[in-house]
């Protein structure tokens, strides 16, 4: 290819069409956390559209405590080599050098993630400086739009990772969808005030109000543990699902992975969801978010 032009995919964002486009190709699919090449192959074999390569799933990070950082490059490369589907990997919030390393390792997407320990208390990574795409977490519309303005090509609601409790994922998705719906009812003058309240660029706010959706793909994450969880998020308007600890912390990861993939495609068919939910064995043990003291909630990381 002699001419390689990288145009801006969406006005007001730093993301390119190839990068927002890769997220569009993942829609309706399940992205699974994996900690070994073997798990990555199980995920691909179950029909995952991508894998998230990391050293410890969120449930273990939560249980073991301590700082959580970018994974060992050896581990990430071994997972990149193990599968033919896209591989994502996590960098700490604001840790632009971890992101540089992950780009060098040729991962397909970087997750600037609250699951790891934040590296910067005020700034997220300037994602426009990278050619590789980023996905970022958000708990509300303002947070999502700030990440998009910084160059994120994909948004996932944060939920509360490593709990197996879907309540926060539901809350964050409802919040984002509700705030988008409210914008649609505002006139141009009111949109200026709304942009100020959302602490987001006016151009992006105007665009969301007109389109009735984010300018990039919106997945959900954090606490999804069962086929019914995944299907509920899809019925509520998620465009796809991240499953972290929910698969490989369960009794039968292969069967559960396949079941969640199928429930995500046939999300509006209770007969299919019932069928795939039969005999799945133990779901991950889980921890109610309400039992976790606020300072230990991961969703509150990021600004």
């Amino acid at each position: 290819m002699t001419t390689t032009t990288q145009s801006n995919g969406t006005p007001g964002t730093g993301a390119t069409t190839v990068n927002t486009g890769l997220a569009q190709m993942l829609k309706g699919g399940v992205i699974m956390d994996v900690v070994t090449p073997e798990q990555a192959r199980i995920a691909e074999e179950a029909g995952a559209v991508a894998v998230m390569a990391l050293e410890r799933v969120p449930a273990d990070i939560r249980a073991q405590g301590g700082l959580a950082r970018m994974s060992d490059p050896d581990l990430i490369s071994s997972i990149v080599d193990a599968v033919s589907i896209p591989v994502m990997a996590k960098a700490r919030i604001g840790h632009f050098v971890e992101a540089q390393v992950l780009e060098h390792l040729k991962v397909d997407y970087i997750d600037e993630s609250e699951v790891l320990s934040p590296a910067d208390e005020a700034h997220h990574i300037d994602k426009t400086k990278f050619k590789v795409p980023f996905v970022c977490g958000a708990t509300n519309l303002g947070e999502a739009l700030r990440r998009i303005a910084e160059g994120a090509s994909m948004i996932r609601s944060k939920g509360e990772a490593g709990t197996g409790d879907v309540i926060e994922a539901v809350r964050h998705l409802r919040t984002i969808k509700g705030e988008i719906a409210r914008l649609a009812a505002l006139d141009e003058v009111e949109l200026y005030a709304a942009a100020k309240e959302l602490r987001a660029p006016y151009e992006l706010v105007k665009q969301v109000a007109a389109a009735g959706r984010l300018p990039v793909v919106l997945f959900v994450a954090g606490g999804i543990a069962t086929p019914a969880d995944a299907a509920m998020m899809m019925q509520m308007g998620a465009e796809g699902v991240f499953v972290g600890s929910g698969i490989f912390k369960s009794g039968d990861p292969e069967a559960r992975a396949k079941a969640i993939v199928k429930a995500t495609t046939y999300y509006d068919d209770p007969a299919v969801i019932a069928e795939v939910s039969r005999g799945l064995g133990e779901a991950m043990v889980g921890k109610s978010v309400s039992e976790i003291a606020a300072p230990h909630r991961l969703a509150e990381r990021g600004w």
Binding site: N19, G21, K27, G29, G47, V49, S84, V132, V261
Partner: protein, 200 residues
Amino acid sequence: MSRTPQIGVLALQGAVAEHEQALSAAGAQVRKVRRPAELEGLDGLVVPGGESTAMARLAAPVRLMPAIRQRHEEGMAVFGTCAGLILTADAVADAEALTGFERIGGLDVVVRRNAYGNQLASFETELEVSSIPESERRLPAVFIRAPIIEEITGSEVEVLAEAAGHPVVVRQGRLLAASFHPELTGDHRLHEHFVQLAAG
């Protein structure tokens, strides 16, 4: 005036809504297809971009791929983009992750998955397409972890566009395929071509 062409979009996973919009803009009546029975009465079917490994696995329990092949043999037109090209190709060069899963087939080409490399190698360009008059502007084309058509194995395959020495849009009778994503650009000329092909 003939009736409005009925076009389905395979909706197991991937860029489904984008194709639905492009097809509606091109004048078709559009519906999603996730089960064999939903192929009934369709003039054409789009197999969208996404992950071919995921789609092949989701299609297997309901035997959707052979059902599509059969409907195509009965006259339904098919348009595969990116992953859709992989699923319609007769042969896949690096088929390990697709081994044991049925595909649609029927297009006499050999394709290689992710042949350009990982996401850092994804790119945009503009193409001359022989179904589009030379006087019109070139077709914007977004290649994302795209497959390459390495070889054409049948005499009925027409190459409608090339990039860097590889065919990127091909047609074989009522089967159209592109290795990129015409659904991502807002330029619907290839979808218009497919809707005409399906209606004819």
